[in-house]
């Protein structure tokens, strides 16, 4: 298990670094616009008020906070979590399917390893990469936010807001694991993960059709309302439970399915 874990880390290291740099860089780029926004907040507010409400909702723009740092950061996090979800989904969708598509599964599974330990080694590597991504992300964001605004976010609020990215990634990690072991053949990890992640993102925009309440339970992108987090310094527990139940169920199902199925070798 340990060697599989280290092997997986090595195999994924380069991609992981690119993701971390892009996520931090992307957020940094957005956040660097904040001082400009803050200066012209009033004018911008007027412009944005003319946007259709649907679009305003979709973009997660909240007027009450008047372009406070938290509100702006929440807006940026909305975009960044979409990318972060793709990172997590890519990692876990590839978890077993990659070796089967590239036909190295026959090599690995003919070694004296249980399937459980193979999956655990690979999953542990994916979790390690996601955790490292979030640690680097949190530290850089903390430094960045402190440098652009005097009235920075409090420690707990900041951790909860950035932590939402980790929780969304864990959701997609579990979903990708399930898909990786249960889809008969994943030809392209990227297309599967893009379709899935954007699917969930679009569900999040459909509150007019599906009902605002229903949507919040349906997509992880709506589990964490960052303005609520900012105001209450906490997550809404019911969505945390939904996520926990899903992650545990998908994880268990993933292990059971992988244990019981034939490995595609041809």
């Amino acid at each position: 298990m340990k060697t599989v874990y280290l092997h997986e880390l090595r195999q994924n290291a380069r991609t992981a670094i690119i993701w971390i740099v892009s996520l931090v860089g992307g957020t940094g780029l957005y956040m660097s616009l904040y001082p400009a926004f803050a200066q012209h907040a009033n004018e911008l507010n007027k412009v944005l008020q003319n946007y259709p409400p649907v679009l305003r909702k979709a973009l997660n723009i909240n007027f009450d906070a008047h372009f406070a740092l938290a509100s702006f950061f929440a807006l940026v996090m909305g975009f960044i979590t979409l990318a972060a979800a793709i990172q997590a989904m890519n990692l876990s969708t590839a978890i077993t399917s990659k070796e089967e598509r590239e036909k190295t599964a026959e090599f690995l599974l003919s070694k004296p390893l249980t399937r459980q330990s193979i999956l655990t080694g690979k999953l542990a590597a994916a979790v390690t990469i996601i955790l490292s991504t979030n640690v680097v992300f949190m530290i850089s964001m903390r430094l960045l936010l402190m440098s652009i605004s005097q009235t920075s976010l409090t420690e707990p609020v900041f951790l909860l807001m950035t932590g939402s990215m980790l929780l969304i990634q864990i959701f997609f990690l579990a979903l990708g694991l399930l898909m990786s072991v249960s889809l008969p053949k994943v030809r392209s990890v990227l297309s599967v993960s893009l379709v899935t992640v954007f699917g969930f993102y679009i569900i999040g925009m459909l509150d007019a059709v599906l009902g605002a309440k229903a949507v919040r339970y349906l997509t992880p992108f709506k589990f964490f309302d960052l303005i609520y987090v900012y105001k209450h310094s906490s997550y809404e527990w019911q969505y945390l439970i939904v996520e926990a139940v899903f992650v545990i169920a998908a994880g268990i199902a993933g292990y059971i399915i992988y244990q019981g199925r034939d490995i595609n070798t041809i």
Binding site: Q11, F107, L109, K111, P112, D262
Partner: protein, 292 residues
């Protein structure tokens, strides 16, 4: 003698389509066991069940007396496997891959890695991606043997190897066998099996149709007759019991015969012969006979 591999009524269906049906085999310790059949007969299916890459839909399979699924990881400590087509992580170097492979076994394999790569003339510093197919196959051979397994499973091993390497490879297998390793060799190339094996199981459309000692197969009771007569011979003249592979072309007849030689010689004696050849058939002919 201890049995290394034993299958009883081993069956595999992929959905509706046939993999193998009721395969009964028993491979003894120290023997080189051939498993021969045309492509798609079920050779790889059987091997993949033995390695628990896929699960049987019926029957049982044991290796070293243990269940291949339940005790799979423990069994595989002592199995070396060379698949018919080899695929490895392209971005790794040969040395890294072999070390990765060795890391799964409870012994130090570094010395054996060096020995084997020297025999197989393998450059350890190259990237897998830069290797030719034949060289990848060599990597496969080394990773399959580096832990000195008690059971070596080879699935059509020689594809992609040049004749010289094939010879080296067979020598290597022979050597491992002499040291006590049991070898299970699947192939569709008869000469390969003929060269190496003690016993052979013939599989056709998922079913074992014959298991025989190689020596018995070689000196089987079959005789190959080739006759050229001066006058055309009727097509069904030799269509009697014991005759197979009958080919008649005007004055030329050839067939395999198993049975009372006196009778067939009497039949031949009534013909106006130009030439007559009776020989031991080569295995190729016998197998063709089984396959039809």
């Amino acid at each position: 003698m201890t049995t290394v591999i034993e299958t009883k009524k081993l069956t595999k269906y992929y959905g509706q389509s046939r993999g193998i049906i009721d395969v009964d085999m028993s491979v003894d310790e120290g023997e080189i066991y051939g498993f021969i059949g045309p492509n798609g007969a079920g050779k790889s299916t059987t091997i993949r069940i033995l390695l628990a890459l896929i699960y049987a839909t019926g029957g049982t399979a044991t290796i070293f007396g243990k269940d291949v699924v339940k005790d799979g990881p423990e069994i595989r400590q002592e199995i070396g496997y060379l698949p018919s087509e080899v695929f490895y992580y392209d971005n790794m170097r040969v040395k890294e891959l072999l070390d990765y492979s060795a890391s799964f076994y409870k012994k130090d394999c570094s010395k054996r890695i060096n020995e084997l790569s020297e025999i197989m003339d393998l450059d350890l510093s190259k990237k897998i991606d830069d290797l030719s197919y034949g060289n990848k196959k060599k990597v496969g051979i080394v990773q399959g043997l580096l832990h000195e397994p008690k059971l070596i499973i080879l699935d059509e091993p020689t594809g992609g190897l040049d004749p010289l390497m094939q010879q080296k490879f067979f020598d290597l297998i022979h050597e491992e066998n002499k040291k006590g390793a049991t070898v299970f060799l699947s192939s569709h190339i008869l000469s390969e099996v003929q060269r190496l094996c003690d016993r052979v199981a013939i599989i056709k459309e998922g079913k074992i149709i014959k298991i025989e000692r190689m020596s018995d197969l070689g000196k089987s009771n079959y005789s190959q007759f080739r006759i050229v007569a001066n006058k055309p011979i009727s097509k069904d003249y030799f269509a009697i019991e014991g005759v197979s592979e009958l080919k008649t072309n005007e004055t030329h007849v050839s067939f395999l015969f198993k049975g009372d030689l006196n009778m067939i010689v009497k039949m031949i004696s009534t013909l106006d012969l130009q030439s007559l050849m009776v020989e031991e058939p080569d295995l190729e002919d016998i197998f063709l006979h089984y396959y039809q």
